[in-house]
Symmetry: C2
């Protein structure tokens, strides 16, 4: 159904229909009702294409996450969707799967669809495509990563890692492990930096913390794999900081299977504070990221940049993480290595 | 940057640029390279608006879920995104929050953006908006719900409920509970129907299963609430079927806090088979839904409907759920009611 057909049905000119849609006050009540009635009868729906060709942008926002299945990104996406909807924007969800080519391809597709702006947790932080997008008038807000002349919203992950390690060191642990997805991902790398800072402040060397790097998704299954590595290769470790809560929950499940008690033998700290951290059988001590707040602030920043253009001042917003004490950490530690005993 | 500017920069006609973009074989290699070079220099990006105004549709797919934070929908969305991307489509993610007005508004917004098709887990199954969308040429595939003259993809939830209850009845349990999000949501309702069928086949009445309906999200926190209700009001119950895995994990955590052992005192069966069902400290007996497969098949069906239009034959696809035995069910049962003992 086109604007022409609406005009014919209402027996007015195309210009009048356009006025009704765009400048309703320029039209008499009688004419407006006649046109609106024709629109109702015909099921006319405004076509976003016209606005795009006039150089406008779609009322859509692109969100590029590393993987939506990671609960951190799920909660973030939910918050972005909610905030965008309230402002009248649709959310286009993209996963880069931590793949640079896929990330770049998505940026190009989003530009082809003339999205209003892009929220991105970047894999390739130095990619020129982001600058190219901005030059073309697309708003860009970085998630989890600062870059001069861009808006960004992130959590202070160095502090987060430090909080986790400080807690364990305060309990008397001296041989730690950091269980993590690949350190090529900036957030995990920063958390490790924080752990090492806490060690350094106490005069402990970097190798007082074993780095156990597992597959790229940071899932509970990979936490299970990490439990095998700790049991087989690192009998001296008495406490683990995990890069995220899923890794922590999987690690704990794996340790229990090996007959190692948590926190009796090994203490475990997670990262994120996902819903199941609080409500699992063994509530998880963790570092809370303000996921909802982060999504809300980032989305509002993106919309503002899209609306104000050059008048907009870029902001780098950093949230502080919060330590949450629950039941998976204690002063106790395993005295001797145990191997593959069935513990249930 | 417009097609005219590309033509000027390449010193060819607008028609030639259009040919390079749309019918590359109609143009000599030399001309094509000249135009592509100009495009590169100018940073020309195809504008999807033109195609929309010619009556075309955006290469986007809308997905309306009840709530993306439910891991079933998260995994489904991941699979839809993956399948759509491979076919060159973007995914617009929408949450209805189980709200009919919000669902309808999303359908209208998606149509305004001329999405190619809509995958929807409907709140309002009889809404005329879906038929209206279809009449306008938008493909529609229903998730989790059949409707004549629409394509649909769902899991047989009645069978799923039956599988769960059969397992518990086979173990000797005779007083069950069904812990669920509101039964106004079709999937949960069907699962209860399945539980009652299993009871009926053994000559047991409906009230051999207490229905414990909690808040609308079906989260672990609500599973915790259900544990309080079971402890306070239903001391006779020895086994619970939960509407989803999050409810089950939260229920188990809550029961343990009350000093009730799982499965020693109460057996628990989940539904979905999310990643943490397998990898939590107490691996969960559950009913597996083929989430990835469901997302893939639904997306392909939607794309096919969009491409073939009237030539497309509607299909109602039903997947069978699968019973997964893990560690939260046993023949044992609590002998006497226990109240609020601290069990940790």
């Amino acid at each position: 159904m086109t604007i022409k057909e609406v005009a014919a049905a209402a027996e007015v000119s195309v210009g009048t229909v356009s006025n009704v849609l765009n400048r309703p006050n320029a039209v008499s009540d009688e004419t407006r009702l006649k046109v609106l009635d024709a629109i109702d009868r015909l099921g006319f729906v405004r076509n976003a294409g016209a606005s795009l060709l006039r150089g406008g942008r779609a009322r859509t926002i692109g969100l590029i996450t590393l993987d939506i299945r990671n609960p951190f990104f799920t909660e973030l996406a939910r918050s972005v969707e909610h905030t965008a909807r309230e402002a009248g924007y649709l959310l286009v969800l993209c996963n880069s799967d931590e793949n640079r080519t896929q990330e770049k391809r998505y940026l190009e597709l989003l530009e082809e669809q003339r999205v209003n702006g892009v929220l991105i947790s970047p894999v390739n932080e130095r990619d020129n495509t982001l600058q190219w997008l901005r030059d073309r008038g697309t708003a860009v807000v970085l998630l989890g990563h600062d870059r001069r002349s861009f808006c960004s919203v992130r959590v202070d992950d160095v502090s987060g890692g430090e909080l986790a390690a400080d807690h364990l060191l305060d309990l008397g642990h001296r041989r730690l492990a950091f269980v993590t997805a690949p350190l090529t991902i900036a957030a995990y790398n920063s958390r490790l930096t924080g752990v090492r800072r806490a060690l350094a402040r106490r005069g402990l060397p970097d190798d007082a913390c074993e780095v156990v790097e597992v597959g790229s998704l940071g899932t509970a299954a990979e936490g299970r794999v990490a439990s095998d590595i700790l049991v087989d290769d690192h009998p001296e470790v008495t406490a683990a900081v995990c890069g995220n809560d899923l890794l922590a929950l999987g690690l704990i499940a794996g340790l229990l299977r090996h007959g190692i008690r948590v926190p009796g033998d090994i203490s475990v700290v997670g990262y994120d504070d996902i819903e199941l951290a609080e409500h699992s059988s063994l509530p998880l001590t963790t570092i809370r990221q303000p996921k909802q707040e982060l999504g809300r602030v980032a989305t509002n920043l993106l919309i503002e940049e899209g609306q104000r253009g050059a008048a907009h001042a870029h902001q780098q917003i950093v949230f502080q993480p919060e330590f949450v004490l629950r039941d998976t950490t204690a002063a106790g530690r395993r005295s001797a290595p145990r191997r593959r005993t069935e513990g249930r």
